[in-house]
């Protein structure tokens, strides 16, 4: 590459000159040019394990596999063991027809080969496939102030906002390259300035809003900028208790997928907002007031992508991003209560609860037996990957996930409504 205006260490310069091999030179050139595009002055060391976004062995992404093969052939690995997003299919727990199975085999024909590549590059284990790597049962949990190069958008926004670690919203490819070098260009959300809020979000609802719709409203308004949310701690309190973490996880994922939010602050609640309060607001702050009317407007604005809106739902996906242990327990209890109330043995619409392998394992230790026969299934897949093909996209699938709604044909309902849809269908 031509000369760089970044301040590189002697070792980084040597790598860039190709003294440690051509492949590592290309890795370094990619990172340095990427950093330059954002005005980064230097690379800074990563202090916590990677999490990668690309978990699916799609036939179409051959150039990516070629890059990984080149990295492997040069003996390169990530600086620490990594977790990665969920696998795309689970024939045992998520129903597919023979034709769909053939289609999955075609679309994700490289899954086994790709997982072999991941193992060689530093995959932690067979159970490391989840988008919610920060859950206690998974254990890829950064500390406040850690520097990361993560890419899964829901994990990025959680790490930045709820934990107070620092990562940019990296693309697939850049994630693995930064984690091979063990460094990231210092810009954006890695800097104090980049973590200042551009938007003041004034929440003025009469009760705690649905996390998925609130996150969606914020994401659609601020897109990639940083919001500072007031009024929410009146309902959530000022402690990061398990149910609050669940709420923030789902709100953040919706803001990251409906927009491109990488960091939010909640007044009196999230770590940086607790420490710095409104000093986090930029001088030229923009304001967005969210009340019940605004949330209803956002909810009603979602396009319905089904050709026949009154069709009986084929299945219901809960858990995008993956559910916490607390959330699985709540959903199973809620569904069982509803079955008892309605004197039913099975849910009329199958319910697929998605979570991390480690969380599912933990849940099963004390789980009630026979919930599968009741129409409730547990899986560790990514429902997005399941739906991203022409056959599954035609199925009338409902979800409580605003992220899944955004990237697929799934129809969104808030928690309170989706229970009714599961048991009574669509009128």
């Amino acid at each position: 590459m031509k000369e760089t205006n970044m301040e590189l260490t002697a070792e980084e310069k040597e790598i860039l000159e190709g003294k440690k091999g051509e492949t590592l030179r290309k890795v370094m050139e990619t990172i340095v040019r990427f950093g330059q595009a954002f005005g980064a002055h230097r690379l800074i060391p990563l202090t916590h394990r990677p999490h990668l976004v690309t978990s699916f062995g799609a036939n179409s992404i051959k150039p990516y596999y070629a890059i990984l093969n080149e990295l492997i052939a040069s003996g390169l690995k990530t600086f620490d063991l990594f977790t990665v997003d969920p696998r795309p299919f689970d024939y045992e727990n998520v129903p597919v027809t023979l034709i769909e199975k053939i289609l999955f085999s075609f679309i994700f024909g490289k899954q086994k080969d790709y997982e072999q590549q991941l193992k060689k590059l530093g995959l932690e284990s067979e159970e490391a496939f989840t988008c919610a790597c920060y859950l206690p049962e998974v254990g890829n949990i950064p500390h406040r102030g850690d520097i990361l190069a993560w890419s899964e958008s829901s994990a990025v926004v959680y790490a930045n906002s709820v934990i107070g670690a620092r990562t940019n919203r990296n693309s697939a490819g850049i994630d693995i390259m930064c984690n091979i070098v063990g460094k990231a260009p210092e810009y954006g959300l890695l800097t104090d300035e980049g973590r200042q809020a551009d938007w003041l979000i004034e929440l003025k609802t009469k009760k705690l809003p649905n996390a998925q719709i609130l996150g969606s409203a914020i994401g659609l308004k601020v897109v990639e900028e940083v919001p500072y949310i007031t009024g929410l701690s009146e309902y959530l309190g000022s402690e990061l208790k398990p149910e609050v973490l669940d709420y923030l996880k789902d709100m953040g994922a919706a803001s990251a997928s409906n927009g491109a939010v990488g960091l939010y602050h909640v007044e009196n609640l999230t770590p940086e907002a607790r420490d710095f309060g409104r000093k986090l607001l930029k001088p030229d702050i923009k304001t967005y007031v969210i009340d019940d009317v605004e949330l209803e407007r956002v909810y009603q604005s979602y396009p319905l992508l089904w050709k026949k809106p009154a069709r009986k739902p084929f299945l219901c996906f809960i858990g995008c991003p993956h559910l916490s242990l607390n959330q699985i327990e709540q959903w199973v209890n809620r569904l069982e209560e509803e079955l008892q109330k309605r004197r039913l043995k099975k849910t009329p619409v199958p319910v697929i609860l998605c979570s991390a392998p480690g969380v599912i394992k933990e849940f099963k230790k004390n789980a009630p037996t026979g919930f599968k026969e009741k129409g409730i299934r547990l899986t560790a897949i990514c429902p997005l990957m399941y739906m991203n093909n022409p056959l599954c996209a035609r199925k009338p699938i409902v979800t409580n996930s605003n992220k899944l709604r955004t990237y697929s044909t799934a129809r969104f309902f808030p928690d309170e409504e989706i229970i009714r849809v599961i048991f009574e269908g669509l009128q």
């Binding site: 990619t30 990427f34 690309t54 150039p63 070629a66 940019n168 693309s171 396009p303 990237y407």
Partner: protein, 149 residues
Amino acid sequence: MNKILKGRVIVAGNLKGEALVSHKGFNTLASFQKSLVTRAKIARCSDQDNKDLYQKVITGKILCLPQTIGSTTGGMVILTVARMGLHPAAMLFSKPIDSLAAAGIIMTDVWLNKKIITLDSLGDDFLQTVKSGQQLEINEEGEVRILDS
């Protein structure tokens, strides 16, 4: 009279070609998803939410856009469509480039040795001025000339 705008050079090059204008964020995965799955020879935009581009040919065009949006697989999608020959010839950003597009464009240059000519920070006025179908001329210094039709 031809109008000239100046941007910041991300990947330099000289090119004359046809503009394709997206006034809203370009969702990379949604736009190329159908072409990737069907292994099309030419990519047509499959993002139903993008009224400017839906079903229009992207391959070989000078894509004029504010930024890219959507899944963080976006960079890898750009790399893949470039390898398949489905990529736009150039990408002209009215705003500063976003991290997903930058990743894809730089990885394509470094790892595939293929250039998608790229300028950013052309200004909001750029997308108000340029129209789909117009001929544009780009030079290595980062100048964009909108040629009279």
